[in-house]
């Protein structure tokens, strides 16, 4: 890292410095999110063409696909945070990790639910043990496990390290799970029932999709900042209460 820069990433370890930066970034992000979603949803519903086979149901794609991307993106970010916790002992890394996990789970859930709603009219079923759906489901289970571990360990520092290790183990396992599920699926059912990849996407659909994806990204980043600030405040309250409890004769 460049030491001459006024705010290196190490300085962000100071909660006050972090909060100042978060405050500066938050409003632009919220405005960007609003703008991108407004433009993206307009594109979704009014500009982009209906599919010649699926009709208007194809518009679910603009909600569904970015959620799937984010589900993986958040996990990748959590892996970086886990490295930050274990290797660099960066105090903000585990705050970010803790803040990210429920958001990742939420995006995964949105992906599954919208996929299910999309599946009903196009495939005629709410749920299919399809390779992709199954691996996304396992991803959700891993997210839930991480959240459960966060809640189970009292001490945030110890919880952070345990979760970091779990996140890394999960990261090693996710490609294997993906591969094994693909293999299991192709073995049991020939890929003739439905074609997920379809034709290469037309630019008129790609543009709203990309805008929605950017909107999801800025939404994620704003929520992440808010959650990180909340977590910092919660820890501060916890610390102050402990301090107050230690002083004899005074109550928090």
């Amino acid at each position: 890292m460049n030491e001459s820069r006024p705010t290196s990433w190490l300085q962000l370890a100071n909660p006050a410095v972090f909060n100042r930066w978060a405050d500066r970034l938050l409003w632009p992000l919220v405005i960007a999110t609003t703008g991108l979603f407004a433009y993206g949803l307009y594109g979704t519903f009014f500009v982009s063409p209906a599919d010649y086979q699926q009709g208007d149901t194809v518009r679910i794609m603009y909600i569904h696909v970015p959620a799937a991307w984010l589900a993986l993106f958040v996990y990748a970010g959590m892996v970086l945070s886990a490295l930050g916790t274990l290797v660099f002992r960066h105090p903000m890394a585990d705050v970010a990790q803790k803040a990210a996990a429920p958001l990742g789970a939420a995006f995964t859930l949105v992906c599954l639910i919208t996929g299910s709603i999309w599946g009903k009219p196009t495939w005629g079923t709410w749920w299919q043990w399809d390779a992709r759906m199954t691996s996304v489901l396992v991803l959700l289970l891993i997210y839930l496990g991480i959240m459960a571990l966060w809640r189970a360990v009292d001490d945030p520092l110890r919880a952070a390290r345990a979760v970091a290790i779990l996140t890394l183990v999960g990261a090693v396992n996710l490609p294997i799970i993906k591969f094994s599920v693909d293999w299991w699926y192709t073995l049991h059912q020939p890929a003739s029932v439905f074609r997920l990849d379809g034709p290469t996407i037309h630019p008129s659909m790609l543009k709203p999709l990309m805008i929605m994806a950017l909107g999801y990204l800025t939404l994620y980043l704003s929520l992440l900042l808010v959650r990180m600030k909340t977590e910092l405040t919660l820890r501060r309250i916890d610390r102050l209460q402990r301090l107050a409890a230690e002083i004899p004769g005074e109550r928090a």
Partner: protein, 221 residues
């Protein structure tokens, strides 16, 4: 090496004397298998079809049984602290614990599985592959469980959490294991799933001791 053998012998002796060892796991396995026909009816052909999957699921659950106590008792008695103080690498010592756990759960399970397969009307030619798949695959389950046990070691009631953490990671092992038996029952070659299953076990042999040791070290800083 001496410490390693001592830990292995101690854990095996504990399992035998405390009685929560091999027999109880096998009884659990047997109960699960005998519950299946009650749940789905006595249709032999149907049972025969789902038997490989069910036997693998039962093996998975039976492996989970002792996991929450795998490291917890040692944590409470301070044995893990001694492990950390000992000169030998913690990863290596944990491997002995995992091996002891497998010797009293996975191994007997694999050996009696053909017998239970008989009860569930598995094709005769799939009996040996069934035992083989469990023999090769259950070490992976134990090793994944070792990670979960290390992560939840300090929790008072970590059993359920442990299962939630561990089960999603066992998906590949389950897939390859159950597929192997199914392929064998259909009279087809099963080298590919067998090799993948072996690969899972070898991979976990590398990952699990390292991550479990890291979890234990970080838990006491």
């Amino acid at each position: 090496m001496k410490a390693w053998l001592a830990i292995l012998a101690r854990d095996l002796r504990l399992a035998r004397r405390v009685g929560a060892g091999a027999e109880l796991g096998l009884v659990f396995f047997l109960i699960l298998v005998s519950l299946l026909p009650f749940a789905i009816g006595a249709d032999q052909r149907f049972i025969s079809r789902i038997a490989p999957a069910f036997l693998w699921l039962s093996a998975l659950l039976a492996t989970l049984l002792g996991l929450d106590r795998l490291l917890q008792a040692d944590e409470e008695e301070g044995v893990l602290d001694q492990f950390l103080l000992a000169g030998a690498p913690l990863e290596w010592l944990l491997l002995a614990k995992a091996l002891a756990h497998w010797l009293v759960t996975g191994l007997p399970l694999s050996l009696v599985a053909p017998l239970l397969g008989l009860m569930l009307a598995i094709e005769p030619q799939a009996m040996i592959p069934l035992a083989l798949s469990l023999l090769v695959g259950t070490p992976a389950l134990t090793l994944i469980g070792l990670i979960g046990a290390a992560l939840t070691v300090s929790l008072k009631r970590g059993g359920l959490l442990l299962s939630v953490l561990v089960l999603p990671l066992t998906v590949p092992t389950l897939i390859f294991g159950a597929t192997l038996v199914k392929e064998a029952a259909l009279g087809r070659a099963f080298t590919t799933p067998l090799m993948l299953l072996g690969g899972m076990t070898l991979l976990m042999l590398v990952i699990a001791p390292v991550s479990a040791a890291a979890a234990l070290r970080h838990a006491r800083q």
